[in-house]
Amino acid sequence: MPLSGLEIYKLLPKTNCKECGFPTCLAFAMKLAAKQAELAACPHVSEEAQAALAAAATPPIRLITISSDGRKIEVGNETVMFRHEKTFYHEPGLLVRVKDTQPLEEFEEVITKAASYSVERVGMKLNVSGFAVENVSGDPALFAERVEALRARADLPRVLISKDPAAMEAALAKLQGTVPLLYAADKDNWQAMAELAKKHNLPLAVRGQNDLTALANLVEQVKQAGLEDIVLDPGARGPVDTLISLTQLRRLALKKNFRLLGYPIITFPGEGAASEAEEVVLAAQHIAKYGGFIVLDRFDPATMYPLLTLRLNIYTDPQKPIQMEPGIYEFGEPTADSPLLTTTNFSLTYFSVAGEVESSGKPCWLLVCDSEGMSVLTAWAAGNFDAEVIAKMVKQFNIEEKIAHRRIVIPGLVAVISGELEDELSGWEVLVGPREAVDLPVYLKLWHT
């Protein structure tokens, strides 16, 4: 748990010697609490104080990184239970599971499809995060062969699933130079697994059996064997057990500062689901509620796209909506007679409108107003997208010089402001467009100057 300025102050020499560059020890303590200064700036700080401050600075949920040659997944370091309290920082990895018993052709096909999958949303490219490969066969040689085949086809981080340390060892020989997650140590094999993870300096998942006390004791043993990079599988599988375990683990780490369970969590939504559709909604639960690595049993674009979208939504910083630069945007090659549309600078609103205008094929001007990143209705309610704001933007971006006609199309959702806008923009005619962006192509087809 981070210390407050006053708690830090108690650990400082309290001599106000100013050698740190701040006028008093209290001022320095406040800067330390705000992470705007480094403790090293104080030449007189005691060793005990250093140790206490370092312990307090340790994140309550450890950051765990797994990587391939070119890509990595980082999870952990979360600080809040609810995204509105600050934000969620490290989005969970969405990984696709393959098994060494699958026919090779099928195995390779899934990998190729999932690894090359890319879908665009609000100007960002969303991808599958990695793969989990499972040693179902029990044969170390086959496992190693398949891990090698995976590496040859996909440069994405991996989770190795096996109960057998010998199979793990064989597979690791094919993954030199990368950092996979080893899954998993349980009450029977933890010593050998911990030894293996330590030898190769890799993170290790510890699997419990729906009992957090037993899990904490297992983690304690693994830590005593010298491991620091741990991932938890509480062992719950059904919808309600998983939600409860994940919530309790997050609370224990954040609110009780319970170090033994202060690690990211790996989940397997397919193992608790009766159908493919249920796996997908459970994966959604794990995105919203504290999953770190989410291993999916199937890869299908029709469900991967919604999951990637949900992850993007939940992990958007609530204090910083994604915004577009206000201004006049051109679509096609608009002329002085082309339609003029207007909308807000909330990225999602912009991309919805832009997508439809593009698909209509009609050259257009789009005036993106500074609405402080709010969507149309919200911005209107907050006074960030009213007649005054739109009129100001028309003047600020010299619209009258670019466009010969005097017609502006406003979103149908704010039809009520059309009268006021005509008062603000003398000589202009205000047209009310469709309420939803999806209806723009039909609307634009009928538009004429």
Binding site: T213, L252, S275, Y305, P306, E436
Partner: protein
């Protein structure tokens, strides 16, 4: 020394209000059963620290006239039933809905404005076709909403239907109709905790008891602002559990309307290949939106596709296990 993990529970002091929709013959109505939502003393499905006495309810949305503008996937799923709200309601009940949400479109398929008499007749027909409690929403235009919902409230006297939507600029007439005919209302505000509280206060100031008010915090669809709705709902629910009385209404989310108007659900052609199979994507979009709001406190989800109903009902059943 083995360590012991103590279950980390929160001590909540407040609870969500219980609201009952529908009235049986004994209670002066004609419903086969009533549906009670609310009553939680903990966050969604955390049965180890509090009670969730009533499972979230699934409402299936029907409309009074053929929904020409709906996604072809929905038209295919419902077929001819879309042309007759009574048949549609009966089918929805067959699919396992707990409630029916009837949306009045405001115009028929020839663009003639709906009259109060027509709205009243539709409501009576739907009530006759199903034993489920009813929610009725106006077309969303203040004047017409008032005209139609007053007639609906009267036509459904004794049935304890929920009327909506009461909004900041238009709630008085709807609340008065609910008072006069012993109905419930839905208070709706655009994704804001304070606006939501404010409207509940205004409605209860008109002497409508709080156990007759549902709260619509506004739902964004997956990919279209769901994170705003999700967080506002979490804040409202935490406020309710910490004792803020004007946030303790059960929440209703119009998931179907939001997710099925998005391009991902509506469009089968001219979309990126990475979007995958259209039919599967459409249902997943709605089911995932519903799942997300259920985890932030939804007490009623109104959906449109029967397959979504099946997925969400199964999930709710499992999430309630151990309650």
């Amino acid at each position: 020394m083995p360590v012991t993990v103590e279950t980390p529970t929160e001590k909540w002091t407040g609870s969500v209000r219980k609201v009952t929709l529908g009235a049986t013959a004994e209670q002066g109505g004609t419903r086969a059963r009533t549906v009670t939502v609310g009553g939680e003393t903990t966050l969604p499905f955390l049965h180890f620290e509090g009670k969730m006495p009533n499972p979230p309810a699934i409402a299936i949305e029907i409309q009074d006239y053929y929904p020409e503008d709906w996604s072809p996937l929905l038209k295919e799923a419902w077929g001819e039933a879309l042309k007759d709200p009574a048949i549609w309601a009966e089918r929805a009940e067959g699919y396992g809905a707990d409630l029916i949400t009837l949306r009045l479109r405001g115009v028929d398929n020839e663009d003639n404005e709906t009259t109060p008499e027509e709205a009243a007749t539709t409501v009576k027909n739907v009530l006759a076709a199903t034993g489920l409690p009813l929610i009725v929403r106006g077309p969303g235009q203040a004047e017409l909403d008032n005209e139609l919902l007053v007639a609906v409230a009267e036509a459904a006297k004794g049935e304890r239907i929920a009327l909506g939507l009461c909004e900041g600029k238009n709630y008085r007439t709807i609340v008065a109709a609910a008072l006069a005919h012993d109905q419930l209302v839905i208070s709706s505000t655009p994704m804001d905790v304070n606006l939501s509280k404010q409207l509940i206060i205004l409605i209860s100031d008109m002497a409508l008891p709080l156990d007759r008010i549902l709260m619509d915090p506004t739902t964004g669809a997956l990919g279209y602002g769901i994170e705003y709705g999700y967080s506002v709902m979490e804040r409202l629910r935490i406020a309710a559990l910490t004792g803020d009385t004007m946030t303790q209404q059960p929440m209703i989310c119009f998931v179907g309307e939001e997710s099925w108007r998005q391009k991902e659900s509506k469009a089968g052609e001219g979309v990126p290949e990475a979007w995958g199979d259209w039919a599967k994507r459409g249902v997943t979009w709605e089911a995932m939106t519903a799942t997300t709001v259920l985890h932030s406190g939804a007490d009623i989800v109104t959906i449109r596709h029967p397959e979504t109903g099946e997925i969400v009902k199964g999930l709710i059943g499992k999430l309630m296990a151990g309650s």
